[in-house]
């Protein structure tokens, strides 16, 4: 259950906004709101995850503070969103992790995992500060250790995210058949991949400040596609290894390395940009309790890309062994914390956009045409 105070705040917000509706052109939140007259907790959970936190509506709002109605959509929805992350999380006892997933915890996780990898490396001779013939990573860490730990961590994260998605989907009242509606999926994919709701017909959005700007979109694109590109690189590497029997390291112009390098560059510029925007952003619209979670995700992404690129360019040097274990430790920590940190916004927002895509093609429940 939403804490009472937050439930009231959400209902008050939607009552005022639904009686005004001047923001309907800004984003999907307001169009989805207009299809409703009553706002149950599940409606608030859905709308909160549909919100991209751009604050266009806040700057336009005549009911924002100092008005006595005290309307602040981005902040109220951010608070509800944080609550939904804990509601949908699997396994449930880890809900607390969202509040404690600060930078310190993430870095400690990284250190512990590196320690574990160093220990594993002892079994193949701990060659951490010597050049390795042909840059073969399995001379540093046993193949079985690497494959099994990453498979376990990856599968666990994927399972946790999938369960979170399904819990959201049920909570907001959608049937599983909706997940397989091709037209709705295509429209939602376009919204997700283009960040359509932050575009405002080309003007961009009011983030970090009151002036419209495309910077949030572009830095997010760099981060998102950078992440995706690195994921593709890893998958290609696996196909090369298991499918084609080609053992690494792969050349600078091979597909896995190209994808990894481009993705890595995106994952350097993107998160730095997002971090700078965050520092400049208007504190009035933010739920400050989420700052730690946001920043630790940004830092982990950045550490992943920087250590990955260093590893690539120094793979023939003596530092290769150490860099490899540091990089692997960071990546493992990143994957372990995915379901318990900022990353889940991507899952729930995409799911909310899919619901919106389904919803907007249904006939409205209320006909207010005069």
């Amino acid at each position: 259950m939403l804490p009472n105070e937050l439930m009231h705040e959400g209902e008050h917000l939607m009552t005022v906004c639904n009686a005004c509706r001047y923001c309907e052109g800004y984003c999907a939140v307001w169009q989805a709101m207009e299809r409703r007259l009553v706002f149950k907790e599940s409606d608030l959970n859905y709308l909160a995850n549909l919100c991209h936190n751009c604050s266009e509506c806040y700057y336009a709002c005549q009911y924002a503070p100092p008005h006595e109605f005290d309307i602040n959509p981005p902040k109220t929805l951010a608070k509800i969103r944080a609550y939904t992350y804990e509601l949908y999380v699997w396994p449930q006892p880890l809900a607390k992790a969202f509040r404690k997933n600060g930078l310190l915890v993430s870095l400690l996780t990284v250190v512990v995992l590196i320690g574990f990898l160093v220990a594993a490396s002892a079994s193949v001779g701990s060659r951490l500060w010597q050049p390795v013939r042909g840059g073969d990573v399995y001379e540093i860490i046993p193949h079985e250790v690497m494959t099994l730990t990453f498979a376990a961590v990856g599968l666990f994260a994927a399972l946790a995210l999938l369960i979170g998605f399904l819990r959201f989907w049920r909570n907001v009242g959608e049937a599983y058949s909706g997940i397989a509606a091709p037209a709705a999926l295509a429209r939602a994919a376009k919204d997700v991949l283009r960040l359509e709701n932050l575009d405002n017909g080309g003007a961009g959005c009011t983030y970090p400040g009151a002036e419209s700007s495309q910077s949030l979109r572009w830095f997010h694109h760099l981060t998102f596609y950078g992440f995706l590109s690195c994921f593709v690189a890893t998958t290609l590497g696996a196909i090369y290894y298991y499918g084609l029997g080609w053992h690494g390291p792969y050349g600078y112009t091979s597909w896995p390395v190209l994808f990894g390098t481009l993705g890595g560059i995106g994952l350097v510029i993107g998160p730095i940009g997002l971090f700078v925007l965050k520092q400049r952003s208007n504190r009035e619209i933010e739920d400050e309790s989420q700052y730690g979670m946001d920043v630790s995700f940004i830092v982990l992404l950045l550490l992943t890309s920087i250590s990955g690129l260093l590893l690539l360019f120094l793979r023939d040097s003596a530092a290769m062994g150490t860099l490899l274990l540091v990089h692997l430790g960071i990546v493992m920590a990143l994957f372990l914390t995915l379901p318990y940190g900022k990353f889940v916004h991507g899952i729930y927002r995409s799911a909310a956009l899919l619901k919106w895509s389904l919803e907007r093609s249904r006939p409205p429940e209320h006909n207010l045409e005069v």
Partner: protein, 390 residues
């Protein structure tokens, strides 16, 4: 002239960064006739302020003009309180665009009498009309009726100031409206609501204690724009009347008389349908359905003033006219201070903003030209308005 000049306004507004809604539902379902600002009026003002700052115009906030020094129809300087400290500001020209006097309760009372105590002000509490009053005292010709204004029936629980759009109630045409004596006083179904909302404020203002109560039943719920305050709700008309402090027997009698007078018809809120009463005084001429399906709901209504119509008289160059027949030499006016509306009766949605935009552009241009030309002798004959009628 305003309508002609308004044709070029939207393009100009877009150049200043003002954004418009795509055609959608729209707040008042006026999408076919009106261009709505994306984000509403405050978003428009934000865009204007940003555009002004980009052009190097300095904006002084927390500043109130308390007096004007005008000699022989020529503006000299203004006394301004900036952050509470008095400052004297001189200028070659003055453009007065300081709105009407709707939040000046004393002045409203002068025009309306004690009834004004029960008025709600839909906009900013800062529209005190000080500059308007001072200009009139200084011999500027006024125009318009001080008792006229854009006055809407809004939810009686709205804040005294700045309740804005969310306090409006769109259910009048779906039910009946009674006064504090439990009696009906006007045809609720006279015309489509968007064409009638602007007369209901005045209708309620003319009722005892300036209050009305709109009564609807379960059939009407969900058929109008949701409002910000929940209605009173009861299973019988009797209970409902008690809840909203109305004389119970009168309300029961009014509803019964109304229900008995309702003629059969096919209800359609989208057209001027044939659901009407017969033999009632006043009749309800459209959308008259029996109020018989519980639960019953009541919304209380008060007059909500959007803006006032009293203004200073200007010519087509937005130059302020003096009551001695001369024109002020360097005073221009735009917006509500020169005309809240130039229509004698009724209202066209968006007209106030249109007048403000058209005359704001004219006044700005003329004032700038005059400031640049000052010192040069003028042609004896009246210059033709340069761009006004373009």
């Amino acid at each position: 002239m305003t309508i002609r000049a308004s044709a070029t306004c939207t393009e100009w507004m877009k150049r200043q960064g003002v954004r418009f809604q795509h055609a959608m539902g729209g707040t008042l379902h006026l999408g076919r006739t009106n261009a709505f600002f994306l984000g509403g009026g405050k978003a428009m003002m934000n865009a204007y302020f940003a555009a002004a700052e980009r052009s190097g115009i300095r904006i002084v906030y927390n500043a109130e003009v308390v007096d004007l020094d005008v000699v022989d129809g020529s503006f000299q300087s203004a006394s301004v309180l900036v952050e509470g400290k008095p400052v004297q500001i001189g200028a070659k020209v003055l453009v007065a665009a300081s709105g009407g006097f709707e939040s000046n309760l004393e002045w409203l009372k002068e025009a309306w009498g004690p009834a004004a105590d029960n008025f709600l002000i839909r906009g900013t509490p800062y529209n005190k009309g000080k500059v308007l009053k001072r200009l009139i005292e200084l011999g500027v010709e006024s125009i318009g009726d001080p008792t006229q204004g854009h006055c809407v029936a809004i939810d009686a629980r709205a804040p005294k100031f700045d309740g804005g759009i969310v306090t409006r109630l769109d259910c009048v045409s779906l039910g009946i409206v009674v006064n504090k004596n439990g009696e009906r006083f006007y045809d609720e179904g006279e015309d489509f609501w968007p064409k009638r909302y602007a007369i209901w404020g005045r209708l309620v203002a003319q009722q005892p204690e300036q209050i009305g109560h709109c009564i609807i039943d379960a059939k009407a719920m969900g058929k109008f724009m949701p409002s910000v305050f929940p209605p009173a709700k009861a299973q019988t008309i009797r209970e409902l009347a008690t809840l909203v402090n109305l004389p119970v027997e009168n309300v029961v009698a009014t509803v019964k008389a109304y229900n008995d007078a309702v003629q059969p018809g096919s209800f359609n809120h989208a057209i001027m349908d044939d659901c009407r009463t017969s033999g009632l005084k006043p009749e309800k001429t459209h959308w008259a359905l029996k109020i018989d399906q519980p639960p019953f709901y009541a919304y209380s209504l008060r007059p909500g003033i959007t803006f006032t119509y009293l203004g200073v008289k200007v010519n087509e160059r937005a130059e302020v006219q003096l009551s001695n027949g001369q024109r002020a030499r360097n005073i221009f006016a735009a917006g509500e201070i020169m005309a809240g509306s130039i229509l004698g009766k009724g209202y066209v949605a968006g007209f106030g903003v249109t007048i403000g935009t058209v005359f704001g552009r004219i006044a700005g241009r003329e004032a700038a030209l005059q400031a640049l030309n000052q010192g040069e002798t003028r042609n004896g004959k009246e210059e033709a308005p340069r761009h006004a009628a373009k």
